[in-house]
């Protein structure tokens, strides 16, 4: 690890991700849970970019790109399902 400050920043952001996960677990309604998942996705992309810098591996950042695009598709699919089909 050549840049430990990025690792500690990732730890703090993962605390935020854990709080978003609590909203997914306890969120009283379905849209609340979806908002939690959306926040979790963004925080994980940020964490992956920072971990790529911390461990000096560009491949982590490539995974972050793919994760950002795929999680967007997931969010759209859940939203479409929630509003009652593809209309």
């Amino acid at each position: 690890m050549i840049a430990p400050e990025f690792f500690y920043a990732t730890l703090v952001i993962m605390v935020g991700a854990f709080m978003a996960l609590l909203r997914v677990l306890f969120g009283p309604s379905v849209p609340d849970r979806v908002v939690g998942v959306d926040t979790l996705n963004t925080l994980i992309v940020a964490g992956m970019v920072l971990l790529g810098a911390a461990y000096d591996r560009t491949i982590y950042i490539d995974i972050a790109i793919v994760y950002a695009l795929l999680s967007y598709i997931g969010t759209l699919a859940i939203a479409r399902y929630m509003q009652g089909g593809l209309k």
Binding site: F6, A9, G16, V35, L50, G52, A53, Y72, T75, A79
Partner: protein
């Protein structure tokens, strides 16, 4: 310690503050729309600063070592940021519309023009 380190620490601190604020907003606000406000804006902003910190770090390392993998690191993180900037508001919009269409009303709203419009269409 030099100037570049201080710039990186500042960007990381801003990123951490706003990302944490986004997750706190999920627990502070009463309903799904206000939670979307908090979550979308602050986490997008925090991620911009996280990527800026990585870009500054990679540019400095590229200047020091000349290793092309740091050029790749900077460019790929900028691509990840652009993907996130384009998709995040659209995802929030999809969730808000789906939540309204499946019948979740905004809490403590003083006006709901969309509800009036949907009721008008239904008749």
């Amino acid at each position: 310690m030099n100037t570049v380190d201080y710039v990186i620490y500042t960007f990381l601190a801003i990123s951490m503050i706003f990302n944490l604020l986004g997750s706190i907003a999920l627990h502070r606000f009463p309903d799904v729309y206000t939670r979307l406000h908090g979550a979308t804006k602050t986490t997008t902003f925090g991620t911009i600063f996280a990527v800026l910190a990585v870009v500054v770090h990679a540019a400095y390392q590229l200047h020091e070592t000349g290793n092309p993998k740091y050029l790749q690191m900077a460019l790929h993180s900028v691509v990840a940021l652009i993907a996130l900037l384009l998709t995040n508001p659209t995802g929030a919009h999809a969730i808000a519309k789906a939540a309204h269409l499946s019948g979740y009303k905004p809490v403590r709203a003083i006006v709901d023009a969309y509800e009036e419009k949907r009721r008008g269409d239904g008749e």
